[in-house]
Symmetry: C2
Subunit: 305 residues, 2 copies
């Protein structure tokens, strides 16, 4: 058996690019054409979804698939669905009533281009599309019971006890002193739930997988999700606006709680490193099939935007 | 075989009350408690969903169930899911960026009570909950393939080529001269898609049902959906604010296209009557099992709010 190892940053970035291009093609196929009636809504949905982005969640879907030996064509629907949920959450998060952001990925945000009302609807329709894709992707799991479970996992991860709940916790914490435990709780919901779902859903499509391995993948994703967010907070302090694609220091300017503010910059970095190590440890039984997951874990805590 | 007939308005209203109370109990059970973390979000979701309303869509689910001989306990999940989608759409529709309504069902709208950001999130989470309910209701269809199809139908009805698309068409038509065909197209999407899905989804849970009968139910729902909307437009002209629970003449004041504005009040009423007759005709082969559907059809074009 070949030895497992964490691929180099360059190898991971090359792989990520491949998967990102793949999910872009899948999204392109599922999103109604920009000329489909009502055209403006479909333009807004496409603008919000196809404008780049790291595609971290789809990459986790495909990388988990490689670790559990499920071919990418059977995971295109899942990869597409998690990215649609992510894309819709960004559109709504950027709205004036929420974070009021003008820039996203270096481009004007959806509501800046299409207006607030159309952006709200585009987000709503992207969420619906995610469930449509899961339910009717012809290459998805042949067992309908698995599909039902995928819908349940995604709906739970997106809903009030998952991502939307995390956004609410975020809202309620702005301008208030919160503890590290509360900050962690917010991130576990806000970004953690969907990152975890990406991995758990992909693992679910491998019906024969041992429960112990499933749990390890879940734990990997939990650590990764939190590490991702801590590193995001660190980047907001350390990197400039051009690299980030959004205004540097925007969290601090908005009086949002972040890890660096609560525990300091160095302690934040140390925490991200610990979570990274724990994530890698969770993958130990997987062998080289999980190398891409290892590479993604490292990418998540070393990326510069 | 006992003869079929349309029940009296009083009989229908009594039945509607029973089904409305039933779906309220189901919604109450599925909505997380108001003390569940994050509490404000769950309060907002409950406020938006449990504050009354006609519960027309759940009633159509249960009434279709009676026509096709599916027991109500197997339809609770479907009834709940369509109402959650409807409730979320109202929350978003009332937002300042959309219709900017302060009153709904005689009470302050969700964003008036919880703020705009929380209302956006409550709507988002209600949509996710609808798919969670469909996928994991223990009393729902035992065949997972039927569940998958229910998810697909609801996602399509809620999405960009259904309800959300209708809202977009509505937005794009405000302040512009549109044709009757365009107005009809808007309503077919905006309210028609979910009304149709309510009937078609309920019919889907009766696996042995003849395709011809399925098509008739679908046609019934199509006629009913449009009749409902035309009658809504008529009510906006004819009834006072107190009866409606929202400001009378609000459509006209907002320069929104309506049937009375486009074809006149009397022609609008005649059109609603024609659609009502066509709806009843679609139900001819069903016998007395469809009497509640007949009653609902009549209620829809005679109700005063």
């Amino acid at each position: 058996m070949p030895e497992s190892s964490t691929p180099s940053a360059r190898e991971t970035e090359t792989e990520l690019k491949t998967w990102s291009e793949r999910v872009d093609r899948v999204l392109e196929r599922w999103l109604p054409a920009a000329c489909t009636h009502p055209a403006t809504l479909h333009e807004a949905m496409r603008y919000a979804t196809l404008g780049g982005g790291k595609r971290l969640r789809p990459a986790l879907v495909y990388a988990t698939g490689r670790a559990v030996e499920v071919a990418p064509e059977h995971l295109d629907g899942v990869a597409c669905a998690v990215e649609l949920i992510h894309a819709y959450s960004l559109v709504h998060d950027d709205l004036p009533a929420m974070d009021d952001d003008d820039l996203r990925r270096g481009r004007p945000t959806c509501h800046k281009v299409f207006g607030e009302a159309m952006a709200i609807l585009a987000g709503d329709a992207l969420q619906a599309l995610a469930f449509q894709v899961l339910s009717c992707d012809p290459q998805g799991p042949q067992d309908p019971a698995v599909r039902v479970r995928l819908v349940e996992l995604l709906a739970t991860a997106a809903g009030s006890r998952g991502m939307a709940g995390g956004q609410a916790i975020d809202l309620l914490s702005a301008g208030r002193e919160i503890t590290v435990a509360e900050l962690e709780d917010m991130h576990i919901h806000k970004t953690g739930a969907l990152i975890r779902a990406s991995v758990v859903m992909a693992a679910l499509t491998a019906p024969g997988l041992d429960q112990g391995l499933r749990d390890r993948l879940d734990h990997f994703a939990k650590c990764l999700g939190l590490a991702f967010q801590i590193h995001d907070d660190v980047l907001d302090v350390e990197e400039d606006t051009e690299t980030l694609g959004k205004p540097q220091g925007s969290d601090a300017a908005r009086d949002k709680p972040t890890y660096p503010r609560l525990v300091g910059l160095e302690a934040s970095k140390a925490l991200a490193r610990e979570l990274h190590a724990e994530a890698l440890e969770s993958l130990e039984p997987f062998g080289p099939g999980a190398d891409l997951l290892r590479g993604i874990a490292t990418y998540v805590v070393t990326r510069r935007h």
